[in-house]
Amino acid sequence: MSAAARMIIDSTDDLARRISDFGDASPKYDQLFEGYARLALQPGSAVLIFASNGVEFLFHWIAVLANGYVPCAIAPSTKTSLVSALQKSLNIAAIIGPQLDPVRYQAKHVARIGAFNAAVCDRTPPSYEPFDVLILTTGTSGSQTACVHTVESLVCNASMTNKALSITSADKQLVVLPMYHSYGLITQSIGAIISGCELKIDGPPFNANRFADVIRKNRISICGITPTIARDLLKRGTVLPALRSLSIGGDRVSPEEVMSLLSKSFINELYITYGLTEAGPRVSVLPAHIAPVETYDSVGMAFSAISTRIEMPDADGVGHLFVKTPSVCRRRVGGNILRQPFTSDGYLETGDLFTKDAAGYLRYVGRKADILIVKGEKLNTRSIDLIAQLHPDVEFARTTADDMNSLITRLWARDDKMLDLEEIKRLLRSSLRLHEVPDTIIQERNAVFHK
């Protein structure tokens, strides 16, 4: 076992004292550990954890890891059809979650671990190694893909982020972002484990006044939010208790928004970050409170241990960002991945278009065409199209976003059939998460069908 894995696993006694949520009961880590041991899965077996934010989720995640299995967190709202697809594409051995119905997943063995049900689905040879971690890349790479990280790479990235944001054991961190995403899990939760800071976990629904109240009552000093939450706070004119630092990541923040946030007296330090799951996830940070105003349109400079380069820049310097980081994933798995996004000299292709100025400031320009941010959530339009194409009458689907950021799915029918659009919408709603369901579905005539 690596030192990083040992540190995470050994943290549970101490963590129990400095982590809390708003639930009634605290799980007993030892019981969870023993519960997973009794499943007797092969080392390296992947375990899908279906749970919302909470201490219990984090302790299950660590107990899975400590048993030599491979934890994979997933949104609890994920539909059975996608989970079944993930079972196959990621070679998932067991699925756990509160109120999980084992019958849906053709479970061969069922157990109760803590407050969660465990369904053992498959005992085929695992595809991973003990102390690997699977992080789903729902937004960036399609719905059935994941990055295989090691615990070391995640601890390395969390450590780089802690250093960049000056996070220490004296801090009290609030998690409001989903812990099944890399920011909440790695940057905040693993970051808190290794920094020794206190961790308060909250969950949806998000409410600006309650957010302020939780910060005040728990004397929170640091918090990470999305640009969508930041815009909501600005729009409402919410006054927060003084925070030592606020970090924002996940989407673009405009220079005007950076200036508005900096004008708030309750934000002492403001960090704008950029990352992607494959990189572990954080790559760069802009400490806006001390940065020159002309850099407010950037995501700052890469962490000191990370190298970046812009491939094939155009006349304006816009090109594909490649990064070389010690926290890079081992590989991507699942779906129809035909090639790994790595170069022979160890750089990772981010799929994002950037410029980089002489000082090293990175400025985001755009993403690959299939990736959109809708309602604050990253999504891959290809995933929506693939679900629509499961309908027997649909030959081809293409999803785009209009100027108002609402999703439109255009459908082309087989044999010029008239499509039942209501039925197709039901199919989409039963398979996709709410933010992925298109606002409008249109049937196009086959004469304008261009694949």
Binding site: S52, Q99, P205, R236
Partner: protein, 93 residues
Amino acid sequence: MTNIEDCLKDILIEDLFVEFEKDGILPTYSLRQDLGIDSLGFVELKEQVEKRFSVVISDDDFTPENFSTISSLTSLINRCAVPTGVGSSNVVS
């Protein structure tokens, strides 16, 4: 079970596509932990509740505590209901 609880279960199944049998949803289940409602799901749930029960849920009432279970949400709807019963009298048992 009140009609409000019954209607909330319909919303969860028909509008939020929660994958549970109606009879399998207990009023004490956590909407977040047991039924897997996420942040956008709660926004959708609030909108559907406002529409179906003709109530307005203020930002201050849109909290994890009020949206904890079907029981707590039922209590909130009863508190928010217009005294004349407009829109909600046909669902309260």
